[in-house]
């Protein structure tokens, strides 16, 4: 996978989290994941088509997503409730939009489907292409999340 796709979706994700929740993100070293077990406690996944085919998933640790959504809503959320799941879908949607905007500026047009949300210990992330995927671990002051990309250029 070309690095520009990784950079675009990581930047799009970081921008959403910074703008909507005032949380700074520090990306780490990417690695390849061969199974479909999620890295976090709650995940959003969205299908992508156009210049690439595949999917983007964001998988958040509980502490990380509780801080992000609490900041977004302006109220403290302490459990992984319906608000959190709803917000993960919206964050995934916005992160996809931000990444696609960066790629579109470089002439690569990609459209996105509607995000789905999965949660629970060791839940699975079923990528459109099946896998393997590239994981970009990201840290915040309140916990970690990963950008999980499985894409093929057309």
């Amino acid at each position: 996978m070309d690095k520009k796709f990784i950079d675009a979706f990581v930047a799009g994700t970081a921008d959403v989290i910074k703008t909507m929740a005032f949380v700074d993100t520090k990306p780490g070293e990417p690695y390849i994941k061969k199974d479909n077990i999620a890295c976090g406690d709650v995940s959003g996944i969205i299908g992508l088509t156009g210049a690439v085919i595949g999917s983007l998933a964001l998988s958040f640790s509980e502490s990380c997503i509780l801080r992000i959504v609490s900041n977004m809503l302006g109220e403290e959320i302490t459990t992984l409730n319906e608000d959190i799941r709803d917000a993960v879908g919206e964050i995934t949607n916005m992160a996809s939009g931000g990444g696609r905007k960066i790629l579109a500026d470089g002439g690569l047009n990609i459209t996105a489907a509607i995000p789905t949300i999965v949660w629970g210990t060791n839940h699975s992330i079923m990528h459109v292409l099946g896998g393997p995927s590239i994981i970009i671990p990201c840290s915040t002051a309140d916990g970690s999340f990963v950008v999980d990309l499985c894409l093929k250029e057309k």
Binding site: D15, V69, M72, L73, D83, A87, M94
Partner: protein, 127 residues
Amino acid sequence: MEKNIKILVVDDFATMRKVLRNLLKQGGYENIVEAADGIAALQIIKNEKIDFIISDWNMPNMSGLDLLKTVRADKELSDTPFLMVTAETLPERVISAVKAGASSYITKPFTADVLNEKIAKIMEKMG
């Protein structure tokens, strides 16, 4: 600027409606009603005087674009300011929203300042 206007927030994600409500409150807007899609929004608009509509684009049952077209086609509602919200950034989208009569367009993510400045500009234009 008038802060007591009644704003209708339309979004199928309940959390996004809460986020918008939170951002609007930061701008001093407290008179806010919510709808989960275009059909629910139309029911509210027909029963209450709504001064400003903020609508997501992608929604089940009736999209934001279809809601916008319906509002603009109704003589009694056609002047209602309408701010379209979406995560999509494709230029064709902006053009089709403007063609359909959107007062303005805002791309997610955005801050409270950006949202409230958009509203202020639209309201200024409306006089």
